[in-house]
């Protein structure tokens, strides 16, 4: 698509584009340098502020935080995915008294901030903060997984279901054995994108004092002193971005692999799931 939006640039356009690019890069670099200098004037890059990263204790706390983040995300994902499948099947059920209440529940879950669900679970059910975080993530993400898979099923050619019914499968059997596997494969990129959202949302655990990465560094900065706030936050941000980029890369890799196999048949249907939501 991109390539047909404009003519292949000629020598003059290329020159203008190059000059523009250079100016743009210079402007951005200038802003970055200015920002770094301003921060440096406030002593943020002094060696001793960063020397704490030479300490094993500091890294063990950071790694504990990473572990807490990853374990909450992993447990939540493992529960949310099957639950999402179930909710999806209920949402498209032929039976009205299953379909309609499920729809209401899904609307409700999608429309609520994740922080609110975490706090609710913590206060009303008096759970540990880990359970509250996982529950909040599961409630929200299973609803989104359900919506993504539903969008995948709807994007399938009608013939798939018709063929299934024609060979004598029941409606449910056709959903389970014919439509669902195709829908999941088709929506894999969106599902992985949602995984990144789920992973990022563990950082909302601050609301229930769950010791994930961000809270771990916050507590550490409180202990060490406020001058260490910036260094530990920069490191935490870098770790977060690195982990999420890795998962996102995985999504892109899957997408490429899938589209090669299906020869372009991998429709990236935009649904709520690709949205970062809390």
């Amino acid at each position: 698509m991109t390539s047909v939006l404009y003519d292949v640039p000629g020598p003059k356009a290329r020159r203008i584009s190059l000059i523009g690019s250079i100016i743009g890069v210079i402007v951005i670099a200038a802003i970055v340098v200015l920002a770094i200098m301003t921060l440096a004037r406030q002593g943020i890059f002094e060696g001793q502020r960063w020397a704490i990263f030479g300490q094993a204790d500091v890294w063990s706390l950071i790694l504990n935080g990473v572990g807490a983040t990853l374990s909450a995300a992993a447990v939540a994902a493992v529960i949310a995915f099957p639950l999402g499948l179930l909710l999806c099947l209920m949402r498209i059920s032929d039976v009205a008294w299953i379909r309609i209440p499920t729809r209401i529940v899904l609307e409700f879950l999608r429309g609520m901030p994740v922080v609110l669900m975490m706090l609710f679970v913590l206060l009303v059910f008096a759970t540990s903060s880990f359970v509250a975080v996982v529950a909040g993530l599961v409630l929200y993400n299973s609803a989104i997984f359900a919506e993504i898979i539903r969008a995948g099923i709807q994007s399938l050619p009608k013939g798939q279901r018709e063929a299934g019914l024609a060979i004598g499968l029941t409606s449910f059997q056709s959903r389970l054995t014919i439509e669902l596997p195709q829908a999941i494969r088709r929506m894999l990129p969106s599902l992985v994108a949602q995984l990144v959202v789920l992973l990022k949302d563990t950082s909302l655990g601050y609301i229930v004092a769950y010791g994930e990465l961000l809270r771990a560094v916050q507590v550490m900065a409180d202990f060490l002193g406020p001058q260490f706030l910036f260094p530990v936050f920069f490191v935490a941000a870098a770790i977060y971005i690195a982990i999420n980029l890795a998962v996102s890369r995985l999504a892109i890799w899957i997408e490429r692999r899938g589209s090669k196999k299906a020869a372009g048949g991998m429709a990236h249907v935009p649904v709520a799931g690709t949205v970062p939501a809390k």
Binding site: G24, I28, Y206, A272, V275
Partner: protein, 216 residues
């Protein structure tokens, strides 16, 4: 339930502030996100590179870190503001625009190639092809996902409660502390006010989705 009725003024105040954050950030994010998407498909390499880097980094950063940068790091860089809503709006719109850019880009990709070819064959420039032919069509198909992004934005604004802005969720926490015996009712009240914004938006998305499906 008495708690909810008794605390209606607080709920209402929080609701209005949440709505304000969402509407202002939403408008800024829609504009900035569309510009980012346009930059992503433009002939200028630096713009493409900037747009790609921005979207990649922001999409992979937790919202809380975006808030930290807007509310704590920016003032250190000399960008100070007396109203903390400004920081919240910067964080929310900077974060949301990355997702809007991605949605608009996939919308641009969904417009049949022939449209652009036809436009160019009648002599349109890149800016004309994009603004007159591609974006109007793309925006229509991306409206449902855009609405979903806006729903997420409304809910994301709840993080502002931890970053110096007293909005709906902040009031909810306060009321929960004051009414320790009625925590459930208090939080259900908060949920109700969020749903007051998000459910109609979700319904709108469904309706538009249906309309668009017929149009195609």
């Amino acid at each position: 339930m008495d708690v909810i009725i008794e605390s209606l003024p607080q709920y209402w105040d929080g609701f209005l502030r949440t709505l304000f954050l969402a509407v202002v950030s939403g408008i800024i994010a829609l504009i900035f996100g569309t510009l980012l998407a346009a930059a992503r498909v433009s002939p200028i390499a630096a713009l493409r590179g900037f747009s790609m880097a921005y979207v990649e980094i922001v999409r992979n950063t937790p919202l809380t870190i975006a808030f930290f940068f807007a509310a704590v790091v920016l003032p250190r860089l000399g960008v100070t503001f007396q109203q903390f809503e400004v920081a919240a709006i910067i964080a929310l719109s900077a974060y949301t625009s990355a997702f809007i850019a991605e949605a608009v880009r996939s919308g641009v990709n969904s417009v049949p190639i022939g449209q652009a070819e036809a436009a160019r064959s009648i002599g349109m420039k890149f800016s004309q092809v994009l603004s007159l032919i591609i974006l109007p069509q793309a925006l229509r198909t991306v409206i449902p996902p855009l609405i979903n992004i806006l729903i997420a934005l409304v809910k994301n604004s709840s993080v502002a409660g931890a970053f110096y802005v007293l909005e709906l969720f902040g009031y909810g926490k306060q009321l929960a502390n004051e009414h320790g015996d009625a925590v459930m009712s208090v939080l259900i009240g908060v949920a109700f006010f969020y749903l007051l914004i998000t459910v109609p938006l979700g319904y709108l998305a469904t309706v538009v989705e249906r309309k668009v499906a017929i149009a195609r």
